[in-house]
């Protein structure tokens, strides 16, 4: 186990260097004067330009610049936003809880709905329910979620007036930002209305962001369950006279969960990618919305640092899933 652990952890080093190299190249490849791209200053005098060039190390060879960048990154310095003049890292840290809150709600929603549906479809294989669910789930996986979100707003917010259109909480409430998770902060503010408002703001984005993972999980659960239900030990359990529900839940589901858990782990990238679209549609003040805005404002340091942070995060989560999987299943530790 220790060797497996060490190997996986060391494998991350070249990937991380590659990721930083890509984000380093990003700002070098963006068209425009490198000083303008980095600082947003325009109409600089030639003397100042030369001074800044030297100060920022842009007159050094590229590999030295990269080494310098790598050192900065490892010290947690990811540059400064051109627009707000705030360190990229601090902006990310303030916005990230919103993205986590939304992503966690979306994945919980996807599991809570997708898992039981997949199990029922497998148990009632070939039934109308099975066909209907599989049809719906392939449609869900094909969904352009940016359109899906707008349609939801059109129906539930505009036409029916059930849910708010955008944001995390109504302006009528002020909630002390303590954890950064609006639902938790609202809970501790002891204001029932604030909790309700935060919750209602979460519903539509959660459904929209959870749609593709939900479809994937339902399909995966169904096929994993079908495989397990054909095994001998299920027949044995049935022959022992165990009830249907007990066999399905205790014997089959437990073993079908391994591939399902892997799929859930792999949804992190999907979620963060989907968050870019979902947050943009619902004006959700998270990392995805921030990255899209950074492009529109040509705030390249933010795009560079934010991309690096998101990629590193996915990398770490993948590593975690890998390690957990190796821990659960000794066969893959080789």
């Amino acid at each position: 186990m220790l060797r497996f652990l060490l190997r996986r952890v060391t494998l991350i080093v070249p990937t991380f260097v590659g990721v930083t190299l890509l984000s380093f190249l990003l700002i070098h490849l963006v068209p425009g004067d490198p000083i303008e791209v980095r600082t947003g200053e325009r109409g600089i005098t030639p003397e100042r330009l030369a001074a800044m060039r030297h100060e920022m190390g842009l007159d050094r060879p590229l590999w030295q610049q990269f080494a310098g960048y790598e050192a900065q990154v490892l010290h947690g310095n990811l540059g400064t936003s051109i627009i707000t003049r705030q360190p990229v890292w601090r902006e990310f840290a303030t916005l990230f809880p919103a993205t986590i809150e939304l992503s966690v709600c979306a994945i919980v929603f996807a599991i809570a709905v997708g898992l039981p549906l997949g199990v029922i479809a497998a148990v009632r294989r070939g039934s109308v329910f099975d066909y209907g669910l599989m049809g719906l789930s392939i449609a869900g996986a094909s969904m352009p979620i940016f359109w899906w979100g707008l349609m939801m707003i059109l129906v539930f917010s505009v036409a029916l007036g059930w849910t708010p259109v955008s944001g995390r909480i109504s302006d009528a409430f002020y909630v002390e930002p303590w954890s950064g998770f609006m639902l938790i902060d609202a809970w501790f503010s002891d204001d029932k209305g604030a909790v309700r408002s935060a919750f209602s703001h979460l519903i539509l984005p959660t459904i929209v962001l959870g749609t593709i993972p939900l479809a994937t999980i339902a399909r995966m659960t169904r096929s994993a369950m079908l495989e397990v239900l054909g095994e001998d030990y299920i027949r044995t359990a049935r022959a022992k006279g165990l009830g249907g529900v007990r066999v399905v839940v205790v014997h089959a589901l437990r073993n079908a969960l391994i591939p399902v858990v892997t799929v859930i782990g792999l949804q992190v990238g999907t979620l963060l990618g989907g968050a870019i679209l979902t947050e943009t549609i619902f004006s959700w003040p998270g990392v995805g919305h921030w990255l899209v805005e950074s492009i529109q404002r040509r705030d390249y340091p933010v795009l560079q640092g934010g991309t690096l942070l998101v990629a590193s995060l996915v990398m770490l989560v993948n590593l975690g899933v890998d390690l957990a999987y190796g821990f659960l299943n000794p066969r893959i530790r080789r």
Binding site: P14, T15, G18, V19, L22, L26, L29, V30, P31, G135, I138, A139, A141, S142, M143, P144, F146, W147, W148, L150, M151, L154, V158, G269, T270, L272, G273, G274, I276, L277, T280, L291, V292, I295, Q296, Y300, L303, T307, V310, A311, V314, M315, N318
Partner: protein
């Protein structure tokens, strides 16, 4: 190994052209009713795209100044002239959708062609070269896979500049690792087989081995992935268009049409609804087809 063995082995290397193999394939494919529906929809889309100039009632870019935001035909105020209504500058939505089908299929085709060919060459090279080259290629793919695909596409477009062409390049790069991994895995599985050894000992060069001997036996997973790649290419390109990073207005690309609808979709639902339905139906058709192909081509999953 005797001469007869070599002969038999090389014969096995060629795809079996048994009589009626196409029919056998179709029977397996048609078992999946969804796949047949997907196939039919795809044929329809191709027909519409090819005949767009004749099928579309209007030009996709002409602005009818007297018909801003005309509702679809069946709603009050709608007319048969604009079946699905018009947008904010009076362009016929149906005509734009029909011309958009052309773009979307083109996007899918170009992206899949690029990433499939690039990925196959990289994957086969990795499998054949082994050692450092293999590690280097696969590490590079791992790096690409760490980025959420849409984010990587956004970054690439930020570098290249927003346009339909650059969006296609970006999506092709993003999907490259899928094909590379698949073709490498499939090739590695084939490399250990006797027929490859036989062909090699008969004096075949590496390139011949790669593309004429091994590749034809790796096609099943690649075809399935290419079909599914079609749908994800269309979806990703539409998302980029929606974010203003893909095709630029007035191009009738479906995602770009949705971006243009953002300001007034709350009072004109049809501007929003139809382009999205077009994307959904197209992507769904290719996904259904991909599923059917997987069932038909992948014997391991056969029930």
């Amino acid at each position: 190994m005797s001469g007869a063995d070599v002969q038999a082995a090389t014969a096995a290397a060629r795809p079996q052209r048994a009589p009626g193999s196409l029919r056998l394939f179709w029977r397996a494919f048609a078992e999946n009713r969804g796949a047949v529906v997907g196939f039919a929809v795809m044929l329809l889309l191709v027909a519409v795209a090819l005949l767009a100039d004749w099928v579309a009632p209007h030009s996709p870019v002409v602005q009818f100044r007297d018909h801003f935001l005309a509702p679809p035909m069946w709603q009050r105020g709608g007319s048969a002239e604009f079946l699905l209504g018009t947008d904010d500058v009076g362009r016929d939505i149906l005509s734009r959708l029909i011309h958009g089908a052309r773009l979307s299929l083109l996007i899918g085709l170009a992206v899949v062609a690029l990433s499939l060919s690039g990925g196959t060459v990289l994957g086969l090279s990795a499998a054949f070269a082994g050692g450092t080259a293999d590690i280097a290629i696969m590490r590079l793919m791992d790096i690409l896979l760490v980025f959420p695909s849409l984010l990587l596409a956004i970054v690439i477009v930020a570098i290249l500049g927003p346009s339909l062409f650059n969006a296609m390049i970006a999506v092709a790069i993003v999907t490259l690792p899928n094909y590379t991994r698949l073709s490498r895995a499939a090739a590695l599985g084939e490399l250990a087989r006797d027929y490859v050894t036989a062909t090699r000992s008969a004096g075949a060069g590496t390139l011949r081995l790669m593309f004429l001997t091994v590749l034809p036996n790796c096609t099943a997973p690649l075809i399935v992935q290419a079909t599914l790649g079609f749908s994800s290419a269309i979806l990703d390109a539409a998302a980029l268009g929606f974010l203003g990073l893909g095709a630029q207005p007035p191009t009738p690309e479906w995602g770009t049409m949705l971006a243009g609808a953002l300001e007034f979709y709350q009072r004109a639902w049809w501007v929003l609804a139809f382009p999205g339905i077009a994307i959904l139906v197209t992507v769904l058709a290719f996904n259904l087809m991909g599923d059917g192909l997987r069932d038909a081509l992948d014997p391991r999953l056969k029930r």
